[in-house]
Symmetry: D2
Subunit: 437 residues, 4 copies
């Protein structure tokens, strides 16, 4: 799927494959830096909880990824910008040696922000040289790895946004990230239901399918495989803040009968009374957004709820959450029908890639499914350190589908499997309802 008309033009007019890769590389890498433009170096230092990484760390880590998986392998004679960065900016690749402890990422005033920019420049220049100079017979393999690196970087683009939101909110001054930041699009259409009669179906990505509109997918989305689903229907749009307020106001957070056992334990231990970023002032619900504090808007999709809250809401509503197979069947129809606006970028503000008409499925909020994140039948992790990318996380996580207002357009596709632990709330995560037919 294309991100903007500009991308279409870029690709169409690029003289050849190398140049198209160069342009895409520049575009993605540039957008990352664009995302931190409203922030000071001080803002980009903070790790407000262990799950959050400082923006500066994201800038450096995504660069390290190219240094390790691209330059050190394919660029003869490449000299590391700083040998010590391998220790500082490895995220979780055990095969690549020891690394700085995750909860200590906020301790790194050095390298400074300026130095990290020089690191990015150094690696960018070396990557561009490599793309242009590698012999023809190495280009395909190189392209695959660079495309992986760019998709990796786009995942971190979303994390930069979710993490800085938590960082700024943790400051009692609650400053805005950007006066015109994106947020979920209000839902104006009445609820409508998508129905499916069930049966043996296929889900997942086949990267070799020539009809695929998404030439890239992660290993975890493969292989495409048969699965059996029962007749079901899915809500045409996510649950709204107004609907969720009813759950709160009817005592949803006080009644264990709606909650999974582990979810109820979190409600009690964390004293959850509403979604993350909500608080009540003078009887009114307010919410911290990337554009600062504002009143909760009933017509917007509810966001920043955990899986536990999503499941409790569904139980309260007499419904359930969709499985990821059910979700994908619905999502595929929307993708196939072209019921998609073009996705905007986060800056400047523009319409995210919400659906047209009665269906609203991509680009508002990630939607918790009822499916634990497990390997698809026949899944094999790739060999080498890159095999640690997805497979080793397939436990204790739930799958989310769709894509949020912070998701790069390239990552909006029917087969995409996002995943987080069931108590995570700092992602742009919401709720879609399902039920048996």
């Amino acid at each position: 799927m294309l991100e903007t008309m500009q991308d279409v033009i870029e690709l169409a007019t690029a003289p050849d494959a190398r140049e198209r890769l160069v342009r895409r590389f520049m575009r993605v890498r540039g957008r990352t830096v664009g995302l931190v433009a409203p922030l000071t170096p001080e803002d980009q230092m903070i790790q407000s909880m262990p799950d959050v990484s400082p923006s500066k760390w994201h800038l450096a880590h995504t660069t390290w990824f190219f240094e390790i998986f691209v330059l050190s392998r394919y660029a003869p004679g490449y000299t590391a910008f700083d040998e010590r960065y391998g220790y500082l900016f490895n995220s979780y690749y055990n095969k690549l040696g020891n690394r700085h402890p995750r909860p200590q990422r906020g301790m790194l005033s050095r390298p400074s922000w300026d130095e990290v920019q020089r690191y990015r420049d150094h690696v960018n220049a070396a990557c561009l040289r490599l793309i242009r100079q590698i012999p023809d017979d190495g280009l395909t393999e190189l392209t695959d790895v660079i495309i992986l690196g760019l998709n990796h970087e786009q995942q971190h683009q979303e994390l930069i946004v979710t993490d800085i939101k938590h960082v700024l909110w943790s400051n009692p001054l609650m400053p805005a990230y950007h006066a015109h930041a994106n947020s979920p699009v209000p839902t104006t259409a009445p609820q409508k239901w998508f129905e499916h009669r069930g049966g043996l179906v296929q889900i997942g990505c086949d990267p070799n399918d020539p009809s695929s509109r998404t030439p890239f997918c992660f290993d975890s989305e493969t292989p495409r495989h048969d699965t059996y689903v029962r007749p079901f229907r899915l809500a045409g749009r996510p649950v709204t803040c107004g609907e969720y307020r009813e759950f709160i106001e009817s005592g949803g957070y006080d009644k264990p009968e709606y909650w999974l056992s582990d979810g109820w334990a979190e409600v009690e231990a964390q004293e959850w009374r509403a979604p993350l970023y909500w608080h009540k002032q003078h009887g009114e619900w307010l919410v911290y957004t990337l554009a600062g504090v504002k009143p909760v808007v009933d017509s917007e999709p509810v966001c920043h709820v955990s899986f536990y809250e999503a499941a409790a809401y569904a139980a309260w509503a007499g419904k359930r959450l969709p499985t990821e197979a059910e979700w994908e069947l619905f999502g595929r129809t929307q993708m196939a029908d072209g019921n998609m606006q073009e996705c905007g970028t986060l800056h400047p503000a523009s319409s995210p890639c919400a659906g047209l008409g009665p269906w609203q499925i991509y680009g508002d909020v990630w939607e918790w499914t009822a499916s634990p994140y497990t390997p698809y039948p026949g899944y094999k992790a790739p060999p080498g350190a890159v095999g640690e990318y997805n497979g080793k996380f397939m436990c204790n996580q739930m799958v989310l589908r769709g894509g949020s207002c912070a998701t790069p357009g390239d990552h909006i596709r029917a087969t995409y499997r996002n995943f987080f632990p069931p108590n995570a709330r700092w992602q742009f995560s919401g709720i879609r309802l399902a039920e048996d037919l």
Copy 2:
């Protein structure tokens, strides 16, 4: 499935349904008390970790279950033995009010063990009176609840054994539970593989199926439903201690590449180097068993491993763990073919219900599957407090199948879904390998 020849005789000779229920009630309730016979009241006080409950608590809690779900509902004029026990011995039923905090169960020297026996006698007598006196039109409903209570009690029989094992092992003196306690049966047969060509199959329990040999199953085993499986094969017997030693000695606990990310974190945090209850002395592996410390026997099934260790072992062996559907397809054939010995009771020592011939599937060790514990398609929790029995735990747990040497024979069936968190090791849990065909 019948437990012993004595049961067959009892049932065959019982004059009517009431009397059969009375005899079964007496038998199950009596076995619970038999399990604690080798223990002192002091032994039965200890909670050696939050997951463990004192034996005395199990004795009281299983009694409270009948008081709450049977007597207070069906026995007019029943007087509670002690009003305060509702607070002390409720395990996790939120709908039944506040309860004593789980980690504090070891603080209860009062009621004394003697008092708990009087509580059991009081409730037993009232249940027997009720069974014999309830009008005919209430008997079916009463029977259903009592059967649930007996199955509940049998689950706690297994927990009494697993918990006291942990309790006694936590004492530096490491006393034996019983000189002749059961343990997993050595594997003498060579490995043989069960194959299945895949396709659309049915799994789960249909309690209304007249052909069912198991008239009882838990709600979580329902409904029987279609699912699609790919061609696979399963090992005919569990992984042995000797095989697992090879994994240890080849550095399995030092190499993150075999481990799930959360599993590796546990290895590092808990300093796991071997299964629970193993330790090395003078170069030899010893293991604490219910009969005391003894050398590890290579031919026995490996036991007391976590899901993480099971998955790491499978990765090291180039295989994978079975899904619960795959396991059930295999387990069903063994059940259907009658490849089952009669199961012994735990005391006195006797053969557990291991299979005949080359297949060894029931009654040695619970076997971790690759399947998270989620509701089956179409699953509905029953109404009322009893609805909290299973459904609310369907998150962050993995399914185990089979049954161990500590499992009552009534709980050995192809559809039974046991579940524990992936880091649990104090259950009799082992490993069966699978692979794609």
Copy 3:
């Protein structure tokens, strides 16, 4: 100081020094067992918090003390009752090797209570044989060590009482220890003040002073030394529950200005609102005592307050806590004047050793002083493991003086230095006020 008239008679009529030691040994050892008579073996298992030890552990540890410091040194050919007890029942003597971790003392169902009694009998018999058979030239040294062991045992007698109080209170059933248990004696006299004009004075114990009425003191009470005190006065009796209620009801627990910084942090973290064992029901303050729950009696000394609460109360009252030198000057006058009743034993109930007339200083509650527990000038710890008895605890503790209703009479003396961390509340600890003149 003598404990009872019976002791006087015993000693007066004993034929010789050996026999007097035998009788004292039997009496002290017997009282320890008497203290646990109202308890079941189950009660004696529980460690309700890390500071608390199970009664059974106290019974075994005080026995181990004689085995290690007396029998293994002076009794040729003595055979340990069980070699493993050195590991299980060493409290904190690093020089004597590894030991069972303190927070795990509640895990010891084995050795059973019966076995521990056999251990006591075995050691008692060996000690008596030794006292009677040791050659004359070894008797003095042996006597010194046995007297130390008996004083050690008496310290544990008080701990048995304070610990079991916490244990039984931790049970939601809050059973009584004994229907007629001692508690602090109500204060009927009006407040009267003891005055001292200050100057250079002496405090501390000189064990070689022939005029001493207390032939034994701990090393920490030595040497007797000069110190300079300013003119001061001390309250003649401890603060009462009624006075303390005023502090509570005037918002004492809500106002940080009365509190030390660390004390305020405890108030917030532990949510202290009243002394330990107090709770409010239907607007009335109740207190758990060894005889069960009863209403707070305003005229009794307030008890079970931490040093932080004592200091906050004193600040609220416009006074301060006494230093230990000030306290000792007062306490000495009471001791010297014979203003002491004979002390009763804990069972059966009898008058504790409260003072006569307007002064009430010994035997109600331990009184927090303003003095950190530090070595006296010139203090030297004795050589060997017994040197760990006191010296290594001289940091992060505050001195308490006096003696409580749970203190054996032998431990009531003007120079005795009890000590606990400033947040400890489970001892019988109260408040005496002081001020500058």
Copy 4:
């Protein structure tokens, strides 16, 4: 005591009291900013452990102190720079309302460093106006409060240095603070002992004593009072790194007999094997200093040891730590004899205020004493919020005396009582030995 010749000249030539106060205000406030000159705003964000505060926080907090205690009280019509800073930059004054939680000080990217400078400028300007314009009859009171604020700021100057040292060391890159930073002065003189025959002496500060060379002291140093000391002697210089290495190499960290009980628990829990900032590489001891990593220099005073290590070293050496009275008697002679060099400032590097000749007592390392931090006899905390400055910390802390290479010269005096918990190691804390005569 004067800080530099320049100060002498300033004061001597200032036309009047107001102008002298203005100059002193400017000088102290300016030095604080000078201390952070080698740092980036990113460096000044970090809180590497809860005890540490970010430099930026120190810059703002010391400014807030003047805003609250000076401007809001004495400057009519003063407008707060930002109302929200009262919440953000209050350290521990409960009487002044709620405050930002201490462990969250590293979360404050806003206000930015630039904004904090503007805050300082705003408050500085208002203070200078106030000093110059206040009516004559208010000048004395104002001067007292400003002098307190400047002494407060100087305490934070030392904390800026100790905290940033910990911050930079926490970064795996271990950058230097300043290439020419001060460090303890090597000890070249042989050990010599100061002797005192004991008796009734006076210690503490009398601010009204006209002979005092230090016109300012903190409330905790008062009142001057009598105390009795026994004959003693003190080492003429602190323990050196070389001497401490002997302790390490003789197994000092492995032998509980040298340690206080709580100290040994820290050794085991924190795995202490050497002073903070030391590590061994290729068999050589290295130490992180403000100028980066360098080999340990045997002749320098050992630094960054806890009270527990100081006490263990003294026990190993067969000596003890001095009491604060003993220390003050020694320190007074050095002060009185003029055995003091002028103290340098931290930047640029210059000689710290070490003693002349054989005595070395001020300006190298703070020296742990054996004295808990308790109120002097007759001590009264001042009324109002400023009364929280010292008194409420008089528990669980040990007194340190002397002054370190990071201590402003104004804070070097014989009566100064520094204090930290016994496990603190990040201050410039060392060891002086004492013994009885």
